[in-house]
């Protein structure tokens, strides 16, 4: 295996983990509707119980995503986490709220009452998708930082990565509309997936017809909002300039329509995007128009993975800077200048072969948990 292959491979793995994380945001979407799901307490408890057996996988995927990014592209870890401090801290804080809320909300003596913890879940359900979308948006729109490895021998100030905005990551919220747009896309996608999940469980008699009807109505609204924002985002992405890297000189330059070119030059990635979008739409539309169909979550969930994967791939593959520096373009991060060494990527390659096995046992246990009766 060549070094370049491993760099591409690890970008694929990190992108795949990111894509799986976004599709698992149906948990977040579900959390955001706990209070408005139904007036009946038993329905709310039911939904919390269903999501409660899944949230840890979302959480673990986030942690693994962080770990894999650290292992494969440590310069991103040091530059973005150390620089966009407040954006990441906010994201982490809302995940802390999630981690305790499922366990604590139903227990006596939880100090704040059940509703508070449900509000925490709602906050996580709303904020986490938006923040993830906004942060990922900067993969395309860039951020204000510089990287200078020469700094290491400045004994009084040896810090390599420096953030140049006093807002430390929060500026992503207003620096480019595309960031917020992607935040909205992820939020509405999480809602769409949550509606499809609840409708799927309604088919399995976990919820009654009244809840199903209500969720179907909402699925209409969220689907329209998702499609609208997604198309706007896609238009912006395809027409914007991107940061390209010259593979022979490592020089980084601005290329008009960079992401559009990436899709054209990587037809397989375009196909992944297309299949992903079609699957999401199929999942939604068939659920909306068919009374018997309850498997929309499987189609839309898989489609979401493919669509997000394709977007992350165009951010990093095809000689693209996946984390552009607006302050100093030459400081922009590419999968070549920010990756771990050949030895580490190669070693980790063998570890990554465990991923299908992990996915298999997760799928198996979910299937087991979905059983209603004891064998």
């Amino acid at each position: 295996m060549t070094y370049i292959f491993l760099q591409q491979y690890w970008w694929l793995i990190v992108s795949l983990l990111g894509a799986i994380l976004v599709s698992l945001f149906f948990v977040q979407g579900g959390q955001s509707v706990i209070l408005s799901l139904s007036k009946k307490e038993e329905d709310r408890v039911k939904l919390i119980g269903l999501l409660g057996s899944k949230w840890e996988i979302t959480f673990t995927t986030l942690v693994t995503f962080g770990g894999a990014f650290f292992a494969s592209f440590p310069l991103f870890y040091s530059t973005s986490f150390g620089g966009a401090y407040w954006a990441w801290m906010l994201l982490l804080l809302c995940f802390v709220l999630q981690a305790v809320s499922y366990e604590f909300q139903k227990k006596k003596g939880n100090l704040f009452g059940s509703t508070t913890y449900r509000v925490f879940l709602m906050i996580n359900g709303l904020l986490a998708p938006i923040l993830v979308g906004v942060v990922v948006g900067t993969f395309f729109t860039g951020a204000n930082f510089t990287v200078s490895k020469e700094q290491i021998y400045d004994l009084s100030n040896p810090i390599i990565s420096v953030w140049n905005s006093p807002w430390h990551g929060l500026e992503a919220l207003w620096s480019s509309p595309l960031n917020l747009l992607l935040g909205a896309v992820v939020l509405f996608l999480s809602r769409v997936l949550a509606m499809l999940y609840i409708l799927n469980r309604a088919k399995n008699k976990d919820f009654d017809d009244a809840v199903a009807k209500k969720m179907k109505k909402r699925l209409w609204i969220y689907s329209v909002l998702f499609v609208f924002h997604f198309l706007l985002f896609l238009y912006d992405l395809l027409t914007m300039s991107g940061y390209a890297v010259n593979p022979s000189t490592s020089e980084i330059f601005i290329e008009p329509y960079k992401y559009f070119h990436n899709f054209l030059q990587m037809p397989a990635v375009s196909a992944i995007l297309l299949v992903g979008v079609v699957l999401v739409l199929y999942g939604c539309l068939r659920t909306l128009f068919s009374k018997k169909f309850g498997s929309g979550i499987w189609f839309a969930g898989s489609g979401a993975i493919l669509a997000v994967l394709s977007l992350l791939l165009v951010a990093g593959w095809n000689n693209t800077a996946y984390y552009p520096s607006l302050t100093d373009p030459q400081s922009s991060l590419t999968i070549f200048n920010s990756s771990s060494s050949y030895f580490t990527l190669n070693t980790m390659f063998y570890v990554s072969l465990l991923v299908p096995f992990v996915i298999a046992y997760i799928a198996y246990t979910w299937k087991v948990l979905a059983r209603k009766e004891t064998k």
Partner: protein, 518 residues
Amino acid sequence: MDILSTSLVDWSRAQFALTAMYHWLFVPLTLGLGIIMSIMESVYVVKKDEKWKKIAKFWMMLFGINFAVGVATGLILEFEFGTNWSNYSWFVGDIFGAPLAIEGIVAFFLEATFISIMYFGWDKVSKRFHLASTWLTVFGATISAYWILVANGWMQNPTGMTFNPDTVRNEMNDFWAVAFNPLSVNKFFHTVLSGWVVGGLFVVGVSAYLMLRAKRLANTEETQDFARKSMWIGAIFGLVATILVCLTGDTSSENVAKYQPMKLAAMEGLYEGKAGAELIGFGIVNPSKQSYNDSVKPVICKVAFPKMLSWLSFGSMDAYVPGIRNIIDGGYTTPDGGTAVSFEDKVAHGKEANEALKNYRIAKKNGDIQEMAKQRAIMDAHFKYFGYSYLENPEQTIPNVPLTFYSFHLMVALGGLFIIVFAVVLWMLYRKKMKPSKWLYLLVFCIPLGYIAGQAGWIVAEVGRQPWTIQDLLPVQAAVSKLDVSSVQTTFWIFASLFTILLAAELTIMVKQIKKGF
């Protein structure tokens, strides 16, 4: 100089310490109670006795309450390497990131997946599948501990890597040397076993409380019976774990002596080295000691065991153990037969390495291959002390002696106490003398002592290795992220408030659940 301001470094350290200490309030119980409840469920499956299922479920419920906050603090901890220690993340990310990624892929998913079966699968899977899920959850937590301790051990004894001047970072060249670093392996056993001790103390203490409370509960007889059964398992498990902790502690001291002599000297308040050094059992650090080379006695009112420190550290009663002053001045003979390098010389080596790195990169820009090779050779020859280039005076290499000293001795004393406690409990159970009495409150009181011992151990490990994030290669002031002090102060207080609230909520929930009984 702003970036290296003490304030930023100290607040960053404080935030990391806060998160790590809170995290370590929850993890030991997960590790220890996890095994105990798995044993209980195993008894249920083997004996097919519903009583044991009820007992196992009770402890599992407490396990779940504790688990959630551990997960939350663990998430923060992982990302704080990037948010607060960005230079560190680049300088050693090539090595350090791998254990974290493996932890996620191999351990976290195992834990997160099978815990769902453990809680939600009682009526959906067979008994054996459920039992396997419980064990896999605990196994996942334990191997997660292994990988994070591999990372931690590597920071204290960096091996299996080489510095690459082209990328300006350390790069892994031997995965197995990293994965089976002797310091990490020992640290794993010592740390996980200390978690088992906490688990044992918790089960014994809670069972004691339930014995006392049984008469107020509807199922008095059943509660007494279940509490006694739990206490048996907790005490046997705790006693075995405490003995093993002591044994691994012995190996741990050998490792510290070999790889981190300054930490050992701080643990014992040893400023002047000697052959046949004594081990202090009890002592008071002299507050009048102002400098490492003044003539003030470092420890007063001490009770010491002659020659024991030499024996514990190097396996010989007459071995030489260097003190803080000797480590700074150098010149003594090291265990491998070499001569110890003084602080001044280490700084000189570090600066040579740093200068050579600079010259190497200039030569590279100019395409001067010969000069590159020359500078590379100089850099390699001096790189062992690279981190010293960032230090200005020898005092910077001395960790907080009183804190390290007292934490170490407190930890050891509590370890001794726990052996007695578990042995007495087992004796009383065996002689059927374990009956409700006010004395049982002493066992409840021992629960926090287990946590205090664990925290003290971590203080020894982490405060004792200051100022190094990577031993001899990267001090804290060169590892920190360039942030406003106010940002770190703000997040520190947010985390401090949030974690404290969560801890309070956890404790009240747990107390309520315990009061309900089995």
